[in-house]
């Protein structure tokens, strides 16, 4: 069905190496009423600089925020980004995208030789937004799509139906994603939506956009995450636990809902680029754990297949066999994913990446897997779009 002519695009040569030398984060919760987004971000930033052992005012060359105006309620949110991150009177740019696109930007700034240390921030203060659904609908085409109204998540219902139809994946398999991820979240102190629910219980939660069920939708949450990146040699000097960003790819499909197919092509192509940069030929054999976007339960399975970690229609089977659990062959979303940690809007990609970093450093406590070396984090920009990114991390 897919139009077969693929543009011949591949990532070219690699520049300098890039590593993560510090991470900082707040707690995540459905509301954070006592703090403004500034203070929330400040907290994550202070912790990241402490972790990296650097002074942002002296050591950092450049700062990046990942944000969208309508999430924040500011016509030019970029104005409000520098102070809480240490970026006042410094090079700083907003990437109107997901946190992994912010990482990609930092990667290019370092890889090009322009800068040595770059800081990336993404946050969600989505509880400030009272009309979330209206704002999501405002991302639809204003002439052809938005006037049809409705709750914007119906688009996920449309895609899920087609995904199930194409691949033979079952509703039970999708429901099992929720049981796994909310269960994983119970071992993650950062995940506010951990719960012990069975696949059957998820199956009996009400349909909202058939075949999508209420419990299969990740709840919104607030929180901030900050990463400190450094050029490879410098990273080795500054940190005793640098995690190398070995591959980063991002990809966009058509923004028209009716122009896309339910195979997460954006994830497949972003992964292709990232694998190529990281020299990964056999993802399933080489990756020790992955964190993928699971804002709707079926998305986890669809994304795993697009990443080449399962054949179309087989991710659900792998899940039921236990291969994607904590003790399985390829643990997926040990953090709890978005279903467990919450939908952090543009910070979602960094939340996925954060888990990989903590695991590779051996700091994931009760959910730590045994000496992982390579991990992958994947993001998707959400309804109604087809943009995503993939990052591959390796322990030094």
């Amino acid at each position: 069905m897919r139009w077969d002519r693929e543009p011949e695009i591949e990532m070219k040569m690699r520049g300098r190496e890039v590593a993560i030398i510090g991470v900082g984060y707040t707690n995540f919760n459905s509301v954070t009423p006592d703090l403004s987004w500034k203070e929330l971000t400040f907290e994550a930033a202070v912790r990241a600089f402490e972790d990296a052992g650097i002074d942002p005012r002296r050591d950092v060359d450049s700062f990046i925020t990942c944000a969208e105006d309508y999430w924040e309620g500011f016509a030019i949110f970029d104005e409000f980004t520098p102070d809480q991150l240490g970026g006042a009177l410094r090079p700083m740019v907003t990437v109107a995208g997901d946190g992994l696109q912010g990482l990609a930007t930092a990667y290019m700034q370092i890889s090009s030789g322009l800068f040595d240390i770059v800081v990336v921030e993404a946050h969600s203060k989505i509880s400030d937004l009272l009309t979330y659904e209206d704002v999501v609908l405002l991302a639809f085409d204003p002439v052809y799509e938005a006037p049809l109204g409705g709750h914007p998540y119906y688009v996920a219902g449309l895609e899920m139906r087609e995904y199930l139809e194409w691949t033979g994946t079952t509703e039970e398999e999708c429901a099992a994603v929720v049981a796994k991820n909310k269960g994983n979240a119970l071992r993650n102190p950062l995940a506010p939506f951990g719960a012990r629910v069975s696949t059957d219980e998820v199956m009996s939660s009400p349909y909202l956009f058939d075949p999508l069920k209420e419990l299969e939708i990740a709840p919104l949450a607030d929180g901030a995450i900050v990463f400190v990146l450094a050029e490879g040699e410098l990273a080795r000097r500054l940190s005793d636990k640098p995690v190398f960003l070995e591959g980063i790819g991002w990809w966009s499909e058509s923004p028209w809902i009716g122009s896309r197919f339910p195979d997460a092509e954006y994830a497949r192509r972003a992964a292709q680029a990232a694998y190529q940069q990281a020299g990964i030929k056999d993802p399933l054999g080489e990756l020790d754990l992955v964190e993928v976007d699971d804002r709707f339960a079926y998305k986890e399975l669809q994304h795993l297949e697009a990443l080449g970690l399962a054949r179309p229609g087989e991710a659900g089977q792998l899940l039921l066999e236990g291969a994607l659990g904590r003790d399985g062959e390829l643990p997926v979303n040990l953090s709890g994913g978005s279903l467990g940690m919450g939908d952090l809007v543009e910070a979602g990609g960094l939340a996925r990446a954060l888990e990989i970093i903590l695991q590779l450093r051996g700091e994931a406590q009760g959910r730590q897997v045994d000496e992982p070396e390579v991990g992958l984090a994947q993001s998707w920009r959400g309804v109604p779009h087809g943009t995503g990114a993939v990052a591959i991390f390796r322990r030094c």
Partner: protein, 159 residues
């Protein structure tokens, strides 16, 4: 703790109400949209635009092919009949309220090589809908049509 002082009493927590709205927006349909909506309103036809090079018919039409950037000048009538590519039964409205009558939302395809149009299905029960079902656009009467996507009331099963 990163700040030296935090709010201790819930009663001291403040929020500030506001908005990011204007007096509304006036979204023009654009060059391709002008063709599409004029044909829909005046002639009751659904137009697409064909890219010969890529073999794709864009519905709704564009003035460029998004894959090869060729300028598209060939507008084609794709007919009022199509097939359901996918569908969902929306059971809540935008504000989370349960809908008394669920909405059936669908992607409608007008042929193997067309992109799909997003719209609603009508005159059909949710359990009767299936992928591949043939449907036909139900237009508002000529005098009620305004050159909007809602000039199509919904698509209903054929026969």
């Amino acid at each position: 703790m990163t700040m030296l002082e935090r709010i201790r009493k819930p009663t001291e927590i403040k929020h500030w109400l506001g908005h990011m709205e204007t007096g509304g927006y006036h979204y023009t349909a654009g060059l391709a949209g002008e063709r599409f909506f004029t044909a829909l309103r005046d002639e009751g036809r659904i137009l697409g635009a064909r890219c010969e090079r890529c073999g794709i018919v864009y519905v709704p039409p564009r003035i460029y092919c998004e894959r090869c950037f060729t300028e598209l000048n060939e507008f084609v009538d794709v007919g009022l009949r199509g097939r359901v590519r996918s569908f969902t039964i929306a059971r809540i409205d935008k504000d989370g309220n349960r809908l008394e009558r669920p909405e059936i939302r669908a992607l409608i395809s007008f042929g193997e090589d067309t992109t799909a149009l997003l719209h609603l299905l009508g005159e059909v029960e949710p359990e009767e809908v299936h992928i591949g079902m043939e449907v036909e656009a139900q237009l508002k009467p000529r005098e009620e049509r305004e050159g909007r996507i809602t000039d199509i009331r919904y698509f209903k099963p054929v026969g």
